[in-house]
């Protein structure tokens, strides 16, 4: 190949690359227009959840509903949401256990225990992804597979996720797990497929005591906005500045 032929090939290369990129562009445009057909404007919403700790009875129904709705593996160590029992003893010792890892039979067998006079107070705390406004898991993803939608929900692109587990390490709330079937990171989506259709997330739908409230923090009149106004709101690990959107009412100071 002489110099003239080389330069000719180089000049021809660019239009060819341009055609390829135009095709890629078109494909991306189709995906964008598919989202445009949904009559739902994400920029009009900013979703959050309220949890009234004083109402949770630890029935575990939310966990079962979440697993059924979202296809979370059945093994009792994969959770998008789970319930912890806090037991605070008079000597200052704090015990935390996850009751969701137990079978219904085990939970039933634990009922009617005599009251331990050494326990100051004990209560259940439902936990889930806090859908942080400032999410640490998004910052660490090396391939940009996890991101925050415009309505404030942190999602994982399972086609892009490489399963490196950085986000699982980065989440201060332990809300992510590696799905053993897809080998990608998985987490609570606030039941995105439900809330965009105007339904409640599955855990909120089944909560028998209305301990969980789902709502839109951008709406002027919304149950969650009222919940936020009427209760003293606490969030988990506020010192990390993750700005969680899961708002807890009557949160005990011992809850981490």
């Amino acid at each position: 190949m002489n110099k003239r032929e080389f330069l000719k090939d180089v000049i021809l290369f660019f239009p060819a690359a341009g055609v390829m990129q135009a095709l890629a562009c078109q494909a991306a445009g189709e995906e964008m227009s598919a989202s445009a057909t949904v009559p739902y404007d994400p920029s009009q919403h900013w979703y959050g959840m309220g949890v009234d700790v004083d109402k949770c009875i630890g029935c575990n129904r939310c966990v079962e509903a979440c697993k059924a709705e979202n296809g979370v593996p059945d093994e009792p160590y994969y959770f998008r949401t789970w319930i912890e029992r806090y037991t605070i003893h008079a000597d200052g010792e704090v015990n935390v256990e996850c009751i969701s890892t137990k079978t219904p039979e085990q939970r039933l067998a634990e009922q009617n225990q005599p009251i331990d006079p050494g326990v100051l107070r004990t209560f259940f705390v439902p936990k889930l992804c806090n859908q942080c406004a400032n999410p640490p898991c998004v910052q660490v993803c090396p391939v940009g597979a996890t991101f925050q939608t415009r309505d404030g929900v942190v999602l994982v692109d399972e086609k892009r996720c490489i399963g490196c587990r950085y986000c699982i390490q980065a989440c201060p709330y332990g809300a992510r797990y590696l799905n053993p079937h897809t080998r990608t990171a998985d987490k609570c989506t606030f039941c995105y497929h439900r809330v965009t259709k105007g339904l409640q997330p599955a855990c909120v739908e089944v909560c028998p005591t209305e301990a969980r409230i789902f709502g839109d923090l951008k709406a002027r009149a919304d149950r969650l906005v009222r919940f936020e106004r009427e209760n003293e709101i606490g969030v988990l690990k506020p010192d990390l500045n993750t700005e969680p959107k899961v708002l807890y009412a009557k949160l005990d100071g011992e809850v981490r």
Binding site: I11, F14, C25, E31, N112, G144, H193
Partner: protein, 248 residues
């Protein structure tokens, strides 16, 4: 000095290449090619299109209006139908398919999942001690699950305050009726949270038995001189009246 012709030509070629690349980058190709937006938008579409298994309470209303109405009037009004009956989207989509008909739970264990006594549950939540509460009966024999309050309100306080009743049953105060210390308004049975029972607000309430002048035989071993013992406090600020001999 004369610039060699080869250099001029090479410069022209490089200038053309640079111009084409800049044109492609900033004019021809849309900005979305260089941002993460397209694949994020695809993920959002994919997530939003996922099928759900829970239909939501409103989907049940049209066909099961009787049960829905009963439930709306009862204490279970806040509970979604699918809490007990399980995910029902398949049933809503195909009402004749009996393989997806939501189950009706009638066994005791199902109700006890929420209503069995657990110390961590909030006070005031109706709980029963399964070994004591009508052991051989199914819950649905007395309680309609859609309107669980029995036709008659509970006759004794431990129907709702089982935790306190269990503590008190072990204490020196086991023989005292709740109404000995608490005045309970009639309305409390119907609206427990709005009509709260009273608590003793004066030391005289305890002095009736525990003053040295009292003749109550059961309190013979726990008399104190009320004029010198913890004068500024109401008794229950230090002593837990439901288990007075317990830890301070």
């Amino acid at each position: 000095m004369k610039v060699p012709e080869q250099l001029t030509r090479l410069g022209a070629v490089i200038a053309v290449i640079v111009a084409v690349v800049l044109l492609l980058r900033f004019v021809v190709l849309p900005e979305s090619m260089f941002s993460a937006q397209p694949h994020q938008a695809a993920t959002v579409v994919r997530e939003a299109a996922r099928p759900g298994r829970y239909a939501g309470m409103d989907a049940c209303r049209d066909c099961h209006s009787d049960e829905y109405g009963t439930k709306l009037a009862g204490a279970h009004r806040g509970i979604g139908c699918e809490n007990c009956h399980g995910p029902a989207a398949a049933h809503v989509a195909n009402k004749d398919d009996e393989t997806v008909t939501p189950p009706k739970h009638r066994e005791r264990e199902f109700c006890l999942g929420c209503h069995g006594f657990v110390a961590s549950r909030p006070d005031g939540f109706p709980q029963v001690v399964a070994q004591e509460h009508n052991v051989r009966k199914r819950c649905v024999a007395c309680h309609d699950a859609h309107d669980p309050v029995p036709d008659e309100p509970p006759k004794s306080c431990d129907g709702c305050h089982g935790r306190i009743a269990r503590i008190k049953a072990l204490s020196a105060h086991s023989q005292l009726a709740c109404t000995e210390c608490h005045q309970v308004a009639e309305q409390h049975l119907l609206k427990p949270r709005t009509a709260l029972p009273t608590k003793p607000d004066a030391r005289e309430a305890c002095a009736g038995c525990h003053d040295p002048a009292s003749t109550e035989p059961a309190a013979a071993r726990s008399r104190v001189d009320f004029s010198s013992h913890g004068r500024t406090y109401v008794c229950w600020q230090c002593h837990y009246a439901h288990l007075p001999e317990g830890p301070k």
